[in-house]
């Protein structure tokens, strides 16, 4: 073996690597869209991943959603009481939960649970050559591992977000009922009076983006993991950090866009 002179950089090593990273992420995403619509389709693996991502996240989503509903109601009550407007609680809570909290809380939970899980799983498959083993057996690992996981998270996160919203409203109802003995139907009637189709639609669209981002980032980081077990840990960690960061950016952009739509 001989050693060549070291490589020349266009800007600097850090900046070059940053742009190469962005290019490779776009290539990865492009490959997803090419492979997702090309047969063969792995429906069984897709269902399996929906189960892993969706059903196994239910307990955590239920607990977090319920507590969010209770806490948010409890914290909002004193301010509204000052103005004698506690009857507005159901509408206030419903707007907050269905427009923002449900999808955001679900996305953050999934970024932590699902994103790190996918990053670690694919990362460990990469460093133990399981992905290479698929490739040499004429199995397309990208299609089998990445496409199914990204699709599964894109499908399940919106469903989980709607479920989280419902559970959070139940939490809110339980708190209001403890103080004012409101009926279940009047709570929901009051709550949904102020909710429009656009609110639900925006929330679902937002969750679709969140789900896609979480799946894509987890898969990208895991699929390109290197450097042994340290690399697996790094992939899982980066998957969580980057997907949370992107989720917040998407939240801001989509809220802005939906506000423009409301205005016009």
């Amino acid at each position: 073996m001989s050693v060549k002179p070291s490589r020349q950089y266009l800007f600097s090593k850090g900046l070059d690597d940053y742009f190469i990273g962005i290019q490779s992420a776009y290539k990865f995403m492009g490959r997803f869209f090419r492979e997702a619509f090309k047969p063969p389709f792995h429906f069984r693996e897709l269902m399996n991943q929906c189960f892993e991502i969706g059903l196994k996240s239910l307990p955590l989503i239920t607990l977090t959603g319920f507590i969010t509903g209770i806490v948010f109601t409890k914290q909002s009550r004193p301010s509204l009481e000052t103005f004698g407007a506690t009857s507005w609680l159901p509408s206030l809570i419903s707007i907050a939960i269905l427009r923002a909290l449900a999808s955001l809380v679900t996305a953050l939970i999934c970024a932590g649970k699902v994103g790190s899980g996918i990053g670690a799983e694919l990362g460990s498959m990469r460093v133990t050559e399981q992905i290479d083993a698929m490739e040499v057996s004429s199995i397309n690992p990208f299609k089998f591992l990445v496409v199914t996981r990204v699709l599964a998270s894109t499908i399940t996160v919106p469903v989980l977000a709607l479920y989280c919203g419902f559970v959070a409203l139940l939490g809110s109802f339980s708190n209001i009922n403890a103080h004012e003995s409101t009926s279940f139907f009047s709570f929901f009637e009051n709550g949904f009076d102020t909710i429009t189709f656009l609110d639900i639609f925006t929330s679902v669209v937002k969750s679709i983006f969140f789900g896609f981002t979480i799946g894509m980032v987890g898969c990208y980081k895991g699929y390109n993991a290197s450097s042994g077990t340290v690399g697996v840990g790094k992939a899982a960690n980066q998957a969580v950090v980057l997907s949370m960061f992107l989720v917040f950016i998407e939240e801001v952009v989509i809220v802005q866009v939906s506000n423009w739509i409301r205005l016009y």
Binding site: M1, K4, T128, V136, S137
Partner: protein, 259 residues
């Protein structure tokens, strides 16, 4: 294996792997610097060399996992670097690759590991046909009783055997073994060497065995290729390579004997 048996198995007129002037580097590091090798049908070639000399890189290029920087690789008449994705997939069905760490899918049990390549590549197969294939390869590697175990419950040697069985299930014409005896005790090493020779006889495969284990190279290789400093310094029978008066080869053998 004696010479008569070798003559029965090896067809010296039929070259199944042809490597010409192969170069590969990673960044500033040149790993392969002009490799030439022919492997004949039915022949086992052991590639010997120190760790980090590019032995595994060589077989990863053969199966299209890595692209060479220059040179040509012809496997079963196909120029590997020039193949499209579909053509490469078709060729890969004829090549079995046994990984250094077995690379068993740890979310699947032994049966599922063996069924997976069959189910994904031959969707028309019936359950009975798949079960028969699984039984046959498990029988070939002598681990029929492990069919429902998870990879984490297997020993290192058993994992290697299941890894080999998973490649055999596709009935390959060529086998590529990456360090088949690394990390195993001497008795298990002997068993794996015997398994490699059994596979050669039973499945009529041509193989490249990547190893730094002299016993493995001697026991399994009809020929041995000595890879040092990015080039094959000598290709021949084990004794031809062993007796070759080249300082680097002699120091490799001396070091291994001391070890």
């Amino acid at each position: 294996m004696n010479t008569t048996q070798e003559k029965d198995i090896i067809d010296k007129d039929d070259v199944v792997i042809s490597i010409r002037n192969l170069y590969k580097s990673f960044g500033a590091l040149d790993v392969l610097t002009g490799i030439d090798l022919d492997v004949h049908r039915g022949e086992n070639v052991a590639v010997l060399g120190r760790s980090g000399t590019g032995k595994s890189v060589l077989i990863k290029i053969l199966v299209g996992l890595l692209k060479p920087d220059a040179g040509d690789v012809v496997v079963l008449g196909k120029h590997v670097p020039r193949l499209s994705g579909t053509e490469l997939d078709a060729l890969r069905l004829k090549i079995g690759f046994s990984f250094q760490n077995s690379a068993l899918y740890d979310s699947m049990n032994v049966r599922q590991n063996l069924e997976f390549p069959l189910r994904m590549n031959f969707k028309h197969l019936t359950k009975k046909e798949i079960d028969d294939s699984v039984d046959e390869v498990l029988d070939a590697v002598g681990l029929k009783d492990k069919i429902n175990q998870m990879p984490s419950d297997l020993s290192g040697g058993q994992k290697k055997r299941i890894g080999i069985a998973r490649t055999l299930i596709l009935k390959p014409e060529i086998m590529l073994y990456d360090e088949p005896t690394s990390g195993l005790d001497p008795i298990t090493c002997i068993e794996i060497n015997e398994l490699i020779n059994d596979v050669q006889k039973k499945y009529k495969t041509s193989s490249i065995i990547i190893t730094h284990d002299l016993t493995c190279a001697k026991a399994t290789g009809n020929r041995v290729a000595m890879l040092l400093d990015g080039k094959f310094l000598k290709v021949g029978t084990f004794s031809e390579v062993f007796d070759y008066p080249e300082e680097r080869i002699q120091s490799f053998f001396n070091y291994n004997f001391i070890q």
